[in-house]
């Protein structure tokens, strides 16, 4: 198939940037979206132009590195996939495809489609851990039974890949699904409950400091999340935050 691509090009953080039109021909429907981008880049290199910079790594939907806002949706029109798992069969011959970076004031563009997501790192550093040192004498793994239900729910929250699609999708650029998932994972496990109040307070404070917007419960993040992280995690974070603010302070 032949396609017209409207791709955001921006030389660096200070550059204003603009959408530039490109044409790619003979794209196989079996290609992944990023393989289509590879074809474009090879074409650009051949022509002596600069290839489009975009983040990608594992190309199997787990590392969370790839981003891209494709035709108005984070990771494109398919559900439950990252951009690297999006296949060209989702598009038709002659289509025009908009390709933009993930947008949020807290995710500044580094170059072209590459954005800086280190705000997520700082939120995690504010409390996304259990304070336990490494030692060969930690208590036995089976010392505290954890109900299968809680363990499974914690696992569902923990499958977040930190890609930032929730922020990119949210009309308010809110990071609450991401933060909620991490808060939930630990809140659901007995190991995480000891410092639960401090954790949620600190992570939310850092999230606010980074300039993410406020959740208005549109639910768009849950739909666009490639891992299907549930809104329930935001509700749980809200509860945790409330109890941390009024009960445990």
């Amino acid at each position: 198939m032949n396609l017209t691509l409207k791709i955001w090009r921006q030389k660096g953080p200070e550059d204003k940037g603009k959408l530039v039109d490109y044409k790619v021909n003979d794209i196989s429907e079996h290609m992944s979206f990023l393989e289509m981008m590879d074809v474009l880049n090879e074409q650009l290199i051949e022509q002596g132009d600069e290839p489009v910079a975009f983040d990608h790594d594992c190309r199997e939907g787990i590392c969370g590195m790839c981003s891209m806002y494709i035709n108005g949706e984070a990771h494109g029109p398919d559900r439950g996939v990252t951009t690297c798992q999006l296949h060209m069969r989702m598009f038709n011959d002659g289509d025009t495809i908009y390709i933009e970076p993930f947008r949020a004031a807290a995710f500044p563009v580094i170059k072209d489609l590459v954005v800086d997501r280190t705000a997520f790192e700082r939120i995690q550093q504010a409390g996304g851990y259990i304070s336990v040192n490494t030692s060969g004498n930690t208590q036995d793994a089976n010392a505290i039974p954890i109900s299968k239900h809680a363990a499974d729910e914690a696992m569902d929250a923990a499958t977040c890949i930190g890609c930032g699609a929730c922020v990119a999708t949210c009309k308010n650029s809110s990071a609450m699904l991401f933060v909620g998932a991490k808060v939930s994972q630990y809140a659901l496990l007995p190991q995480g409950q000891v410092e639960a109040a401090d954790r949620v307070r600190n992570m939310v404070a850092q999230m606010d400091l980074e300039g993410f917007g406020n959740c208005t419960n549109t639910g768009a993040c849950e739909i666009e999340c490639p891992k299907g992280i549930s809104l329930e995690n935001i509700a749980r974070m809200n509860r945790e935050f409330l109890s941390a603010s009024f009960i445990d302070s």
């Binding site: 030389k11 196989s28 429907e29 079996h30 290609m31 992944s32 990023l34 393989e35 590879d38 090879e42 650009l44 290199i45 002596g48 132009d49 290839p51 910079a53 790594d57 594992c58 190309r59 199997e60 787990i62 590392c63 969370g64 590195m65 798992q85 296949h87 580094i110 170059k111 590459v114 800086d116 997501r117 790192e121 995690q124 550093q125 504010a126 996304g128 851990y129 259990i130 304070s131 336990v132 040192n133 490494t134 030692s135 060969g136 930690t138 793994a141 089976n142 039974p145 954890i146 109900s147 299968k148 363990a151 499974d152 914690a154 696992m155 923990a158 499958t159 496990l189 190991q191 995480g192």
Partner: protein, 671 residues
Amino acid sequence: MSVLDSKVPKGPIKDKWTTYKDKINLVNPANKRNIDVIVVGTGLAGGSAAATLAELGYNVKAFAYQDSPRRAHSIAAQGGINAAKNYQGDGDSTYRLFYDTVKGGDYRSREANVYRLAEVSANIIDQCVAQGVPFARDYGGLLDNRSFGGVLVSRTFYAKGQTGQQLLLGAYSAMNRQIARGKIQMYNRHEMLDVVKIDGKARGIIARNLITGEIERHSAHAVVIASGGYGNVYFLSTNAMGSNATAAWKIHKKGAFFANPCYTQIHPTCIPRSGDYQSKLTLMSESLRNDGRIWVPKNIKDAKAIQQGKLKPTQIAEEDRDYYLERRYPAFGNLVPRDVASRAAKERCDAGYGVNATGEAVYLDFASAIQRYGKEQAKIHGIKNPSKEKITELGEAIVEAKYGNLFQMYEKIVDENPYKTPMMIYPATHYTMGGVWVDYNLMTTVKGLYCIGEANFSDHGANRLGASALMQGLADGYFVLPYTIGDYLADEIRTGAIATDTKEFEEVESEVKERINFFINNKGSKSVDYFHKRLGKIMWDKVGMSRNEKGLKEAMAEIKALREEFWKEVKVPGKAEEMNPELEKAGRVADFLELGELFAKDALMREESCGGHFREESVELEGEQKGEAKRNDKEFAFVAAWEYKGEPADAVLHKEALEFNDIELKQRSYK
């Protein structure tokens, strides 16, 4: 006497590690504050090492080429992690895990290291649970296990199909805690481009800031390389696009010996390539072979028709199908080990029986499993004379419950419904057992330079067991290196901060800059990928699943010629002082073009078949095992550690003899 000293402690294998730890030199807490350690790579090994070293009080500088440590490719491991916990009471023990790992590695690993690995495996699970890793649990709330890779006990802990992700996020959370405390300085989007040695000791690295292009000097009292494997030398592999051998190769060029590069694991159940644009291969869990039957058409005419799209697999009659694994290995059938299954698929496809347009795919068929489960279910539900449709419906439900996520993934990628038409699979490079040579302390042949995780060579021998890569990465990072590095650093407490404005740093930095400038200024005509793909093809065709002398010699010559062409013709757009992904790739491919040749040289030297390394000249000539891999313990029970001497072809071989005092060497048989 070899120049290699493995420093394996004396004494019975069961006591080696404990006794050694008791006598090792320690650094007192006040002094740790004055000691810097660089960790390159933040996967399971690097991440866990960085966190633990920081907890101990060292100042850690950690480097990752991605924008976060959480994105390291350990995250993609699906299956699980082995540990000798014996929670299932099925007779597992440290010794059994040790035994299985050594046997699985086809007796080419270092016994003492493997025993230590098995010993600390149980601690890993305790540690991870304490960190909040949500392992699968049973209804009683205790940890669940499954059996993996054909071993006799259930010792694999798992978190759905995302065990690697959860373990990495555990290590990442431990890192975050230390980053917040200021004990780890995290350098995201930085790539190590060389190591700096002062007076024979590793004292720092030169790294490139991948956002600004700035070349930076970083000093430390010890350097730890945890940069993963070199599977991307094949271009197509299950590795991440950015996975590279640069850190490992650069230290090799600075004096670290590189061991057993030819030991590569080719995983049999990957989704086949669909065209030349393919950028990577996706692995599907090997558990699929528990129920899927592997076949190709019996008649070449049918195979051709399928390749041309004129025939569908479902149209081929039962008697016209060749279930070649069941035919060749009646005892193990479709469950033969990874290397055997991979080679058998290649053999059929090379003979022209491949089943997709590229001719490089075989069928993995669930039709008979669906029927079998369907009939079983009909019986259980008391359905008399069930219709064929009903049986299929019931059977599909069972298959979906077991493999639903994998089937879904397959359908997303291939756009075919694997419930209705057989899946297509083909082997792909998955893991590299070879790597930088290290002693019992995990120190390379360069003082103060350590190598852990997949990047080193020590624990998996010639072939890695399922669910043991995660175990090794975390064992090295959480429980081994943090002890053993103290032994070296105990002598560094009086060294003081290491300056970076010395001639040694300057020299290495200018080498690095020179190379970058070469790429930017070279007026070539071909992209980096063009060379990488060609290298991959040579490697796959001649240094792939089965190797012979003629092919390996050709490969060495072809890689050398390709390398020369690369340095003339490579074209790198953009500038050095900016984010430039093509420039990053160019440096990595330049290193692969050297490593590939050493890889072939090692394979050529090793005139035996063992584990992932299959030499066509070394097969059983008669008897039941006729045509199968033949190991040569008399002549090749050694680690091949290569010393860099300029060109890869000139590398000098050093042998570390492997002694097995606690295990009897046996030939594998799956007939």
